[in-house]
Amino acid sequence: MKRLIILLLAVLLLAGQASAAAMNEYALSPFAADTQAMLALAFGDQAGDAQTDDREYPFYSLPGTDGAPFCGQDDTAGFGQTRLFIYTALTVTEDHEPYIWDNIEPSGAAKCALTAGEAQAQAEAILRALGITEYTLQGVTAYGRIDGLTSGYMAAFGETVDGVPVYWAAALHYDEMTWVPESNRIEINLGDNGLALLQGGWAAFTPTRKGISIIAEDEAVAALQALGEDAGTAELCYLLTGTQEAPVALPAYRFQNRFVSAEDGAVLQ
């Protein structure tokens, strides 16, 4: 029995070290989605006809068309983000309005054959096709409550690194008049006829410091409580901070909108 306990403790210790070793510091850079997959999603069997224009970033449309379908990867805003967008032809023929509150279906079920679960599965397949593998589901919203507008679902995914979510620091949003990073989040609108719209910001992460030992959650909670927070738990995550030119990801624990360093419990936000 004693040996078993010792073995269990050793396993737990090793597991803890393995978890700690998984945390790094990262530099952010624009994410490059799979272009061929993006073109196929935007233009279907006309993908081969898509052409770029004179923009600073890859933007594709069909010759002789004005408006959708089009797609692109805008990496010009800084903060290590790529703004991905795919507007399919459905945005012209169907009226997807998931951003009007009154158009949200509170029941969570849209008036279409597609189910929320199917929409999520299709959206995840789209992410994987684009080369996006580290994400977490943030929600599936049903829309189409207003008669006459298209029904469908919007599946939203947040970016994760090492299996934990990322959050932008509040300090980078002190003034809306300056350029600020958007959330690392992709929203995908789908209906019975397939993908209507995809848009969102995503980043690539390159380790700049590896194998950082992290404090346990209860230590982080104590650090947060010392700051006056009524914290009972803390979420392991990465806090994205730095500058527009040199954004970084720091291992952190979060309670509500407070962050402490996962390395030493020092206050980050």
Binding site: W101, I104, G139, G148, A170, H173, Y174, M177, S183
Partner: protein, 427 residues
Amino acid sequence: MKKWLLLLLALALPLTGAAAQENTVVALPTVAPLQQVEASTDADYSSAPLEEYYNANFYMDQEDYQTPRMTAEEKQRTAELLVAYQAGERPAENVLNKPEDVVVGVYTLNPEDYEGETLYTLLPVDPLTDEQILEVIDAFARCGQTFDPEALSYRNCARGGGSGTTRLHPDEELERMDMLRDLYIRQGFESETPFTPLVSDDGMGLVTLDEDAYCGMDSFWFFPYRPTTDDELLGFVIYTETGDPTEYGNYAAYEKQLRLELARLLGAPLVMTRDGEDMCRMGDCNMSYGDEKAYYAYFSTPDGGSVSGYLDIDTGKVLTARTYKKPSLLYSDLHVDPNEEKWLEIAKQAVAEARQDGMAITAAESFGEVWISMVGYGVLVDVTMADGSYYEVKIACQNETVYGGLAYCSHAPDLEKMYSDMVSDND
């Protein structure tokens, strides 16, 4: 940025210069003396703040049609048209002191009221035609002056809706206007010298504009580059007041009923300062309503919050109302699943705490994630009551508490009516 500042400027002008009306008022018995408010010595009534406004908000080194000047091309044509004018060419219209529907206008000023300026020019947002330039030249000539486009400045010219007034209004003046409006509406005070729209007679004036020529602005106010007297301001307030004078005598009763309803529906405190009031047709204020005649008032609370509401004067019931207090939250990048049950519970609890009559809650529904300016993201929940009324509750994701306050509506939104244009456009 420019649009925001223009909007702020417009909001700073509490009376939007709507159509003038006769100075009729229901005389109410009162023994209260007219309250005198001393002009603050710190307030700047000169043209200087307007110069700062233009420098801060307009590209003064670039040509546009909202800064108080002519473009290089217009100046060039002006030189040619001055020659033509001297040779006898005349415009079809005389725009000197033109009072209404102004596209181009030139106004005579009392130099002692306007830092020595003698003429004020209003120009449209569009490139000037030869005829319009001739109108300006002609108006100046009628005053014995030769028009010089190089002399146009923020002190003697406004263009294209860049400004709706000759000078900015210090807070002190805006506060006096609010107080004088109250004295007029609630106690029937009248100005000793009624306001006249012509600026040349007393230094204050108002002309109505062709809205297309001034980016939607419907009037231009002439305020002298000096402190206004209470009587001058009172005259202006009465002239620009758009309320129904036959209702003024009922305002006190409406306010009392509104306060009682705000306390019942939203838990509003009795101690609130009324900051403004008006009457309206409810459908003009909220697409979900129709011809209900409503009394509207907004209040500030001792804790720094605000409460407002629209009272149906025929039923004595509140149609819509809201409380608001801005929390001091930092931006948060947190996104959550808006369909989790906990959001509904938070919203229901907030409504139950605010509601003072114990009315039952019959439903709570999430309307997804919403953006909260400067703060990040939240969840919008509708809480429906036993009588069919409902509350909109916005919950900040970052601290899982109600953000801002509660919004009350007496009935569910009529989606078909609200979005009829959108739906029919897409049919």
